[in-house]
């Protein structure tokens, strides 16, 4: 069977003033893949996802998402993916149901069966009995579950999950991943996810890429990567490839430089 590339990135660069967040990045993701995008804090993962999902324009390089260019065909690209963001994106002043309802209208879910669909997903993440509570009364884990449920209302060609299961217990994590794997199998949905939980990558990904300092260090199947790094687990391979030093305030520093660059109009 011929393998089709659904995401194709070539020589992608994103600079904020002098700081290079993504440095000449090239990689691809095959259709129907569950693809883990791994890297230490501040490696450029979220910046890459933002560029792929039309939220950010690259400094240079080319991208193809579902055969389209996210910089030019923004509207069509947005139709082909769904995303669960790393940081919160819920409206705290609305109830859980309203957050789901507004999302389903934005994504053009048919009126017929909409309510059932929303309730089914709320039930799936264990929030059905709280559907009319305001999100501001939710705990961190509940908000995370709601974000995931919301991201699953429509079934896009590509699902981006930026550290989706952060702060969730192993039971919930497992429960949610089984559902995603099922979608991947049944509907051929491509899944692109990032995580710091290497076990999660080991369990669910068919392909893994490790990124550091804005560059891809290795891309391949989990077995290949372990062989390449002469390691027993992906965690060891990750540490062998990216080193053991702790990144000093990595994510925060980038954010600060970005904010500075932006406030000086230096994009």
């Amino acid at each position: 069977m011929k393998v089709e590339k659904i995401i194709d990135v070539e020589n992608l660069v994103k600079k904020y003033g002098k700081l290079t967040a993504v440095d000449d990045l090239s990689f691809h993701v095959n259709k129907r893949d569950i693809f883990a995008f791994l890297g230490p804090n501040g490696a450029g993962k979220t910046t890459t996802i933002k560029m792929l999902t039309t939220l950010l324009k690259p400094t240079s390089g080319s991208m193809k998402v579902n055969g389209l260019n996210p910089t030019k065909d923004q509207f069509k690209v947005r139709k082909s993916f769904g995303i669960v963001f790393q940081d919160p994106s819920l409206d705290n002043e609305l109830s859980a149901y309203e957050n789901m309802y507004f999302h389903s209208l934005l994504y053009g879910i048919d009126k017929k069966g909409r309510k059932e669909k929303i309730e089914k997903l709320l039930d799936f993440v264990g929030l059905l009995d709280r559907k009319d509570s305001y999100v501001k009364t939710f705990s961190g884990g509940m908000k995370r579950r709601l974000e995931i449920a919301r991201g699953l209302i429509h079934h896009p060609k590509i699902l981006f999950l930026d550290e989706p299961t952060i702060g969730l217990d192993p039971q919930t994590r497992n429960h949610i991943w089984n559902y995603i794997k099922e979608l991947n199998k049944k509907e051929g949905m491509t899944v692109f996810f990032t995580t710091h939980n290497m076990d999660e990558a080991e369990r669910y990904a068919n392909h893994v890429a490790i990124i550091d300092y804005g560059k891809i260090l290795f891309r391949g199947t989990p077995d290949k990567i372990k062989k390449h790094a002469k390691a027993k687990t992906i965690e060891d391979a990750f540490l062998n490839l990216t080193g053991h030093t702790i990144r000093k305030e990595a994510g925060g520093a980038i954010d600060r430089v970005r904010a500075m660059a932006k406030s000086w109009g230096n994009r």
Binding site: F85, L94, R267
Partner: protein, 248 residues
């Protein structure tokens, strides 16, 4: 147009759920109405201006709409900070639909707030002169709300955090209000003030509203309507252009 509906509805829900804010924002107009209305009333009458409350009320109603509209627009910055903006920006809908929903939502909320203050003015003794013109007054409320939500959205689209908000309030919104003829008649003003008032969009809003409610207007309701309509359309396009260029 579902996205427009969603964002309009969201604005409305947020408004009706924050009753304290609704009441809180009545404080300022009431203060203006009572302190200025009754404070300056006697001297205004002595100068031959007639009933000052009758003159001031449309100005205070317009002020309420101005402030409510600006605050609604500034919620874009809040949305950016809580992350909800991302959710709308990656959705497969045009950004024009999104910003239109926000502007319409902001104007609707501003109209409600304006009507509340109208009721307060009525209790204080303000009487509109013609019932037939009330729909025209409502149209002006809408246009003032629309224009300033659009203007605020254009500004807020490219603001990172709330820190710049006091600057906008003190160096932009307040001067617009004080130099609009909301508090004093525009006839016989010193040259400089007269020119500023002519270039102030709110002047036409206040004047049109006052014309519709009390029958006395400075520029004429037709001109007021024309200026506001054209400016609102221009601002809607500028706002949606700036909004469409947001990067996160």
């Amino acid at each position: 147009m579902k996205a427009t509906y969603v964002l309009w509805l969201r604005q409305l829900k947020r408004y009706t759920r924050t009753r304290w804010r609704m009441l809180g924002s009545l404080g300022q107009p009431i203060l203006f109405l009572l302190a200025l209305g009754f404070g300056f009333g006697p001297i205004y009458a002595k100068a031959g201006g007639g009933d000052y409350l009758q003159f001031l009320a449309p100005g205070v109603i317009a002020m309420t709409v101005l402030f409510t509209a600006t605050f609604s627009a500034m919620e874009i910055i809040w949305d950016r900070q809580i992350g909800f903006l991302k959710e709308t920006l990656v959705a497969p809908v045009s950004r024009f639909e999104i910003i239109l929903g926000k502007i319409l939502g902001g104007s609707t909320v501003a109209i409600f707030q304006g009507l509340l203050v109208f009721a307060v003015c009525f209790i204080a003794g303000f009487r509109p002169t013609s019932l037939i013109m009330l729909p025209v007054a409502l149209l002006f409320l809408f246009l003032i709300g629309f224009f300033f939500t659009a203007l605020g959205s254009a500004i807020a689209s490219h603001m990172e955090d709330m820190q710049a908000f006091p600057i906008i309030l003190n160096f932009f919104i307040m001067p617009l209000f004080f130099l609009s003829g909301a508090l004093y008649p525009l006839d016989g003003l010193p040259k400089a003030l007269d020119i500023v008032a002519r270039f102030n969009p709110l002047s036409y809003g206040v004047d049109g509203l006052r014309g519709a409610l009390t029958g006395a207007s400075h520029f004429g309701i037709g001109l007021d309507l024309g200026v506001l309509l054209i400016l609102s359309l221009i601002l809607a396009f500028i706002g949606s252009y700036l909004f469409s260029r947001i990067q996160l």
